[in-house]
């Protein structure tokens, strides 16, 4: 079985599933309305493509057992390095700052204060009950993504010194950065809880499930991070393009505004943004006390796995060439 066979299998599977899934997706998840064919095509295509990708990955695992086992062995050999790198990121981050780790909690709090002040003056009534909590929950998820991908993007170029002299699996670098960002999210979550309690919000048991959307986000960020770190080695332009792109994605994510204020056209568009689904998932659990539907789980996991698959593939196919470009 070669690459071509796997690609062919993936294509055929996608086509079959596309037909099977046609018009079965629920409207509230995909955001399409009767007659909005492009959205229907996108989501049906997306779901069938990701699930066929998963099947192909399973197929690869079964047919190329030794390769997969070898990769796992290398990873377990270098896991200590990953932990040390995460620890190092953490120590370096607040080196020489007086408040140290406290900044991880203070930073989101202060940003939230500024934004709440600005927005409560700009827009009087947006129909959000508890703006600070609404804002902070969106910020928490988005900052996780933005920090994870931004630091992963430069991880290979930044680790050039090591990569040139010692053999280390290259994916260790972006992955450790993404996990560092996760550690930071833990602290931001403390800030979120603080505001949550201070503003008198009531707890619901669904809050215990918050690790789920964070985990989806972790996978998604890892995929995007691996893709960016791989391409950034060959084209340093990526970091500039990504900066702009990230701003666009930020405004396409309902962090500071409710979805209800959007005009129809943008309302559709926003459903194409993976971040929208992750943030909504998080808010459903934390703010509304509602359990997200099976389909929103499938969409979130789909985006996460698709990103992870693409990122990992690009990474593995390019990583032997890095050294010549660093």
């Amino acid at each position: 079985m070669t690459k071509k066979h796997f690609a062919l299998a993936a294509l055929i599977l996608t086509a079959v599933q596309f037909v099977l899934f046609w018009d079965t997706l629920p409207i509230e998840v995909a955001g399409h309305r009767p007659g909005n064919i492009p959205m229907l095509v996108f989501y049906t295509g997306f779901v069938s493509a990701t699930s066929s990708m998963l099947l192909v990955i399973l197929l690869i695992c079964v047919t190329k057992k030794t390769y997969v086992i070898n990769q796992l062995k290398t990873f377990s050999k270098f896991r200590h390095l990953m932990f040390l790198m995460i620890k190092r990121d953490f120590v370096t981050r607040y080196r020489r700052s007086v408040l140290g780790i406290l900044w991880s909690v203070l930073n989101p709090l202060l940003t939230m204060l500024v934004l709440t002040m600005v927005f409560s003056m700009l827009f009087r009534d947006m129909g959000i009950e508890n703006f600070p909590v609404y804002l902070l929950s969106g910020q928490l998820m988005f900052n996780f993504f933005s920090e994870a991908t931004n630091s992963a993007m430069v991880s290979i170029t930044g680790g050039a010194g090591t990569i040139k002299k010692v053999y280390v699996p290259k994916y260790i670098f972006p992955i450790s950065r993404v996990i560092s960002a996760l550690v930071n999210v833990g602290f931001s979550f403390l800030a979120f809880l603080f505001v949550f309690i201070v503003t008198g919000e009531s707890f619901s048991w669904t809050m215990l499930l918050i690790p789920i959307p964070v985990f989806y986000m972790l996978l998604f960020s890892a995929g995007v991070g691996m893709f960016l770190s791989a391409t950034n080695v060959f084209f340093r332009d990526i970091s500039y393009i990504y900066g702009v792109l990230l701003t666009l994605v930020m405004f396409l994510t309902p962090i500071m505004y409710p979805v209800s204020i959007l005009p129809d056209r943008v309302y559709h568009l926003i459903h194409l943004n993976p971040m929208y689904h992750f943030v909504s998932y998080f808010r459903a659990l934390a703010l509304n006390g509602v359990l997200p539907s099976l389909w929103s789980n499938i969409i979130c996991l789909g985006f996460a796995l698709a990103a992870l698959g693409v990122g990992f593939y690009v990474k593995m196919s390019q990583q032997d060439k890095y050294i010549l470009y660093l």
Binding site: K77, F78, H80, L81, F83, L84, R88, T92, G161, T162, I163, K164, K165, V166, Y167, V168, F235, R236, D237, D320, I323, L324, Y325, L326
Partner: protein, 245 residues
């Protein structure tokens, strides 16, 4: 017959000199359209073949630019060969460059654990070796000093200490023995000899013929990316010195 620890088969390494690392997307597209992308090929190594058996000390000789360091980097896994294959059986400690993998912002102590992890050793294992490493490097005084304040001799000492104390199956040493003073060089040579008794395989690059003669049993002579000859050390040294003259 013992299975070779390192076997290098038909290995060639190509560098693309036009691969300018600052090339942007615009330039890339323009060059791709003009079909100028992959010019200026440089074969650093061509069709290299040799094997190293367990417990051997093999010297690699050659003038500057003959491909010695590239060969070592290939064996250490830092580069992947353009053609051919390299098989290595065992854990490698590569001492490719002075202070490879050390982070200058961090203290000697932190770097010992970091360096160990890069070779794939757990921090708990490094803890058991830590005393021996610091004893060997004689750096107890500077344990918590960031390595950016270290001298090159101190870098080399710590690097050598970590690479040898983890007791690798294969040790790769690239011209760094010359950095320390004669006492330390002597200490390193003794250490390598002791490791040999334990069955460690050593690859040694040095311009110092005396070191090579003293340490190695066999040698590989490289010239312009090709193997001139593989054989007993005296023979190879003779050819090499003949080249010089």
């Amino acid at each position: 017959m013992d299975k070779p620890v390192i076997s290098v088969k038909d290995v060639s390494m190509l560098f693309n000199l036009s691969r300018d690392k600052t090339m942007g997307i615009k330039e890339y597209v323009v060059k791709a359209l003009k079909r100028q992308l992959f010019y200026d090929e440089f074969w650093a190594l061509r069709d290299i073949n040799f094997e190293v058996k367990r417990g051997e000390v093999v010297g690699i000789l050659g003038l500057n630019g003959s491909g010695k360091s590239t060969l070592l980097k290939l064996i250490a896994g830092v580069f992947k060969p353009t053609k051919g294959s390299i098989e290595v059986n065992g854990a490698i400690s590569p001492l490719l460059e002075l202070g490879a993998g050390f982070d200058p912002e961090f203290s000697a102590r932190e770097n010992v654990f970091m360096n160990g992890a890069m070779f794939g050793y757990a921090p708990s294992y490094m803890k058991t070796l830590y005393k021996d490493i610091m004893d060997f490097a004689e750096l107890w005084e500077f344990e918590d000093v960031p390595m950016k304040n270290f001298s090159s001799g101190m870098y080399a000492r710590l690097g050598f200490a970590v690479a040898t104390q983890v007791e690798p199956d294969i040790l790769i040493v690239d011209e760094i023995l010359g950095v320390g003073d004669h006492l330390f060089t002597k200490k390193c040579e003794d250490r390598i000899k002791k490791m040999l008794e334990g069955g460690t395989t050593v690859l040694l690059v040095s311009h110092n013929i005396d070191t090579i003669k003293e340490m190695c049993s066999r040698a590989v002579l490289l010239s312009k990316g090709k193997v001139v000859q593989v054989g007993a050390v005296e023979e190879i040294c003779k050819i090499y010195q003949g080249d010089d003259a």
